[in-house]
């Protein structure tokens, strides 16, 4: 019965979202107060019904109801309970339901926000109405093409279990976090449209910034978590593969970062209103592209798209409707802006410049992601662009971006260049000297890009930290005013430092090792001790014991595993990793070559942890902005 109830709740949610949409339109005659009360109610009803639908699906999973197709395809009686929960969003249908649940939760958070006043009430009503329409479109999509409550008859005795790749704690929580980020961008999107269609001024910017930062936090966390998961689970020690799924999350992140910064300018200086609105539209559109095109396989390959043309077409229509519609509204309501008299070295123009770099980076990634499809249309050849393209082109926006981040920190609103130069030259010199010392004396010269990367990373860290250091003696609110920015920039600098050093100075070996044999990787020696069998709850594993020595002193022991899951899946690699802040030592088991000899993948990766420490610090910065700065927000 649970599935039927779920279906009912889903249909109720469809109706509630439609009501939410209509209540924002002027065709229903209501005074504003009543309109607001009603639309708030329907937003919460909408959210509640989607939540109940999710609960029904969860119940079907927990009771192993394999007559529900989605459960049969993604669960198994011996699947551990936490993964039964994760299986809720482990495949297409369920992940769409999660998407809508998160959308309605963000909508509810907007509806109950205390940030709205009389003059922005119309913004609230219109944006809730727009969110209702977005939700309506996607609930319709679920019901028509991807219904998780579909039954099968005759139903199987046993389910096919969750993809073993997804049976991992980090990956289990990864989709909700990433989706929360994607979907959160719907709120700035709705606010931007609401503003364009009504007052068309800067009032929306301060509101949109709250949700933009929220989404940005989740996106940052989601991307970092995904990368971390790829590192230890996919088995070959890479942490970023430029594959379409990753690109699809990076593009909205870049644009959301630009959006957060652009909204600061719009809120404080009341300019760039149109640009901020456009960024809000693009950010959400990229989320749509990310969530769905990748989910249904369009970006990976047009072929799997074609294998279910109905789904693909529906998605494309939704994107056409929402993005196309939003851009038309943007075009129609764009005010002829007053000629701006911007000083090149003012904070306004530097932020604008960096937003342009961020968007270019997103654009270049998009080109690389879609390029195989373009080429296929042109000459029917399928080629893959791959990491060399991305690693190369990403430098072009990122080098000037990193350079100007530091400059922008020291600039002032409507400021000029002279004072700026005096303020930054010492830090610039410090970064260059420290960078050169690090790259030539400590690590050893590798490439000019590596040296430049280290210098720019240090520059970003120093300039980020400086405003806080300078205010150490002053009042609390002066001190913490700059803290979110400082943390975000320091985090970025650390990430870039980690990326540069790891990719330039890391060492990788693929080799065979027998029992008792060892292999030198950099200054470390890896020695294979034993390989034993182990049984897990739903898998069997070979576990190796590898001792690692440095200068004949044992520094660690790792236990890489190779798992075979019961459900006849290909075997999975669980890497053995010994890590500290300064380096990762990584061992993955390859194939059993017989006679106690195994192929192995060995890595030494310096400063790898910074790649994930960086985002963590960025997130702290965002959290500070949202929660700590609240009491002072009037002064900032």
């Amino acid at each position: 019965m649970a599935a039927e109830f779920g279906q009912l709740f889903l249909i109720s949610a469809l109706a509630a979202s439609l009501m939410q949409f209509f209540l924002g339109l002027n065709i229903i005659s209501l005074d504003q107060t009543n309109r607001e009360i009603l639309i708030t109610r329907f937003t919460s009803i909408h959210c509640l019904t989607v939540f109940l639908a999710m609960l029904c699906l969860g119940y079907s999973f927990l009771t192993d109801d394999f007559s529900v197709l989605y459960v049969a395809l993604n669960s198994h009686t011996n699947l551990p309970v936490p993964y039964k929960v994760a299986a809720l969003w482990g495949a297409h249908e369920g992940s769409l339901l999660l998407w809508i649940l998160l959308l309605s939760l963000w909508g509810t958070s907007l509806a109950y926000s205390k940030k709205f006043f009389d003059h922005t009430l119309v913004l609230k009503i219109s944006s809730l109405s727009i969110l209702g329409l977005v939700s309506f479109g996607f609930i319709l999509f679920i019901i028509y093409t991807s219904n998780p409550f579909e039954r099968i008859y005759p139903f199987p005795e046993q389910g096919q279990s969750l993809n073993p790749l997804l049976q991992d704690p980090a990956l289990a929580i990864h989709p909700p976090i990433l989706y929360a980020g994607y979907v959160g961008l719907a709120v700035p999107f709705a606010l931007a449209l609401a503003s364009l269609m009504s007052s068309n001024d800067y009032h929306w910017a301060g509101l949109a910034r709250i949700w933009a930062i929220n989404s940005w936090l989740f996106l940052t966390g989601g991307i970092a978590l995904g990368s971390w998961w790829a590192y230890y689970e996919l088995g070959w020690g890479g942490w970023w593969f430029w594959d379409p799924v990753e690109n699809a999350s990076l593009m909205p992140w870049l644009v959301a970062t630009a959006l957060v910064h652009s909204l600061i300018v719009t809120e404080k200086k009341q300019i760039f209103n149109g640009f901020s609105a456009l960024l809000a539209i693009i950010a959400f559109s990229l989320s749509l592209l990310g969530t769905f095109l990748v989910r249904s396989g369009v970006l990976i390959s047009v072929h799997s798209f074609a294998s279910d043309p109905e789904r693909g077409l529906f998605i494309l229509m939704l994107i056409g409707f929402f993005t196309g519609g939003a851009l038309i509204i943007y075009a129609l309501n764009q005010k002829r802006s007053k000629p701006l008299n911007l000083n090149l070295w003012s904070r306004e123009s530097l932020l604008l410049l960096n937003n342009v770099f961020l968007c270019s980076a997103a654009g270049l990634i998009m080109i690389g992601t879609l390029y195989p499809l373009v080429l296929e249309l042109v000459n029917s050849e399928k080629i893959s662009v791959g990491p060399p393209y991305f690693n190369f082109v990403i430098l072009f926006p990122f080098i000037p971006l990193m350079l100007f981040i530091g400059v922008a920190v020291f600039s002032s609103w409507s400021g000029t260049g002279k004072k700026l130069l005096v303020n930054i030259n010492r830090l610039a010199l410090l970064s260059i000297v420290m960078g050169l010392i690090t790259s030539y004396l400590i690590l050893g010269y590798e490439t000019p890009t590596a040296t430049l990367g280290i210098i720019l990373a240090l520059w970003t860290i120093f300039t980020g930290a400086m405003p806080v250091i300078k205010n150490l003696g002053s009042q609390t609110h002066q001190l913490i005013k700059n803290l979110p920015m400082a943390l975000a920039h320091i985090g970025l600098g650390l990430t870039v430092l980690g990326i540069t050093v790891t990719s330039s100075y890391g060492i990788t070996f693929d080799d065979t090792l027998g029992f008792g044999q060892s292999k030198q990787v950099g200054s470390y020696e890896f020695k294979l001790i034993t390989i034993e069998d182990r049984a897990g709850p739903n898998f069997k594993a070979k576990v190796a014991t590898v001792d690692i020595f440095s200068n004949n002193k044992k520094v660690g022991t790792v236990f890489p595993e190779k798992r075979t899951y019961d459900s006849a899946a290909p075997s999975m690699t669980e890497a053995g990793i010994d890590s500290n802040l300064f380096r990762d030592l990584f061992v993955a088991l390859g194939e059993d070559l017989g006679g106690g000899v195994w192929s192995m993948h060995l890595q030494f990766k310096p400063l790898l942890r910074l790649i994930w420490l960086g985002p963590f610090i960025m997130i702290l910065g965002g959290l500070f902005r949202l929660f700590l700065l609240k009491p002072f927000s009037r002064e900032i």
Binding site: I300, H303, G312, T323, G324, A331
Partner: protein, 174 residues
């Protein structure tokens, strides 16, 4: 111009995605070409016996990944029947029924004819993942030692089979 530029770019992108959606499938160089086919052990459709990759060695064969929900498979089916009946080419076709239900697959084969010497069932698509399958239909040419010699994505027909498969088959038999 500044206001309508975004919508123009979007229309271009949209048209492009729409065209990609309806683009006929073409060949993707598979990293598996020249490699031994991945090991598998799959149950035969509607029986209790199962087959492994070792069982199909010793002869040049085609592995065809198909499903009843796949539109392209419908289009290539008649050609597969024709190919199976062609004595001069004489190549066995092994079907892998992908992410499908056995009852639907059996009905399909009884209605449209069965070109396969054996049909294996891969309901969750795990073997298909090993084969790097993007979407059905896909066809692999396997030589006597079990090495993948060619991979075709999309429906087979007389023309693309003659152009892409026949030269390799002739070379292998020489």
């Amino acid at each position: 111009m500044k206001r309508i530029l975004p919508i123009i770019i979007f229309i271009g992108l949209f048209a492009f995605l729409a065209k990609s959606l309806f683009q006929p499938q073409t060949n993707i160089p598979s990293p598996l070409i020249g490699q031994s086919m991945p090991a598998f052990s799959l149950g035969e459709l509607n029986t209790d016996t199962s087959l492994t990759d070792k069982d199909i060695l010793g002869t040049i064969s085609l592995i065809n990944v198909w499903a009843t929900w796949c539109v392209g498979c419908e289009r290539e089916h008649d050609f597969l029947i024709e190919l199976a009946g062609n004595q001069s080419i004489d190549i066995p076709i092994i079907g892998i029924n992908w992410k499908d239900r056995d009852d639907l697959a059996l009905r399909w084969l009884s209605q449209r004819g069965n070109p396969y010497i054996v049909v294996l069932s891969d309901p969750i698509g795990k073997t298909a993942i090993d084969f790097g399958v993007y979407g059905a239909p896909e066809t692999f040419l396997i030589d006597e030692q079990g090495v993948i010699r060619y991979k075709h994505i999309g429906p087979l027909n007389r023309e693309n089979f003659a152009r892409n498969f026949m030269p390799i088959i002739r070379d292998l038999r020489r």
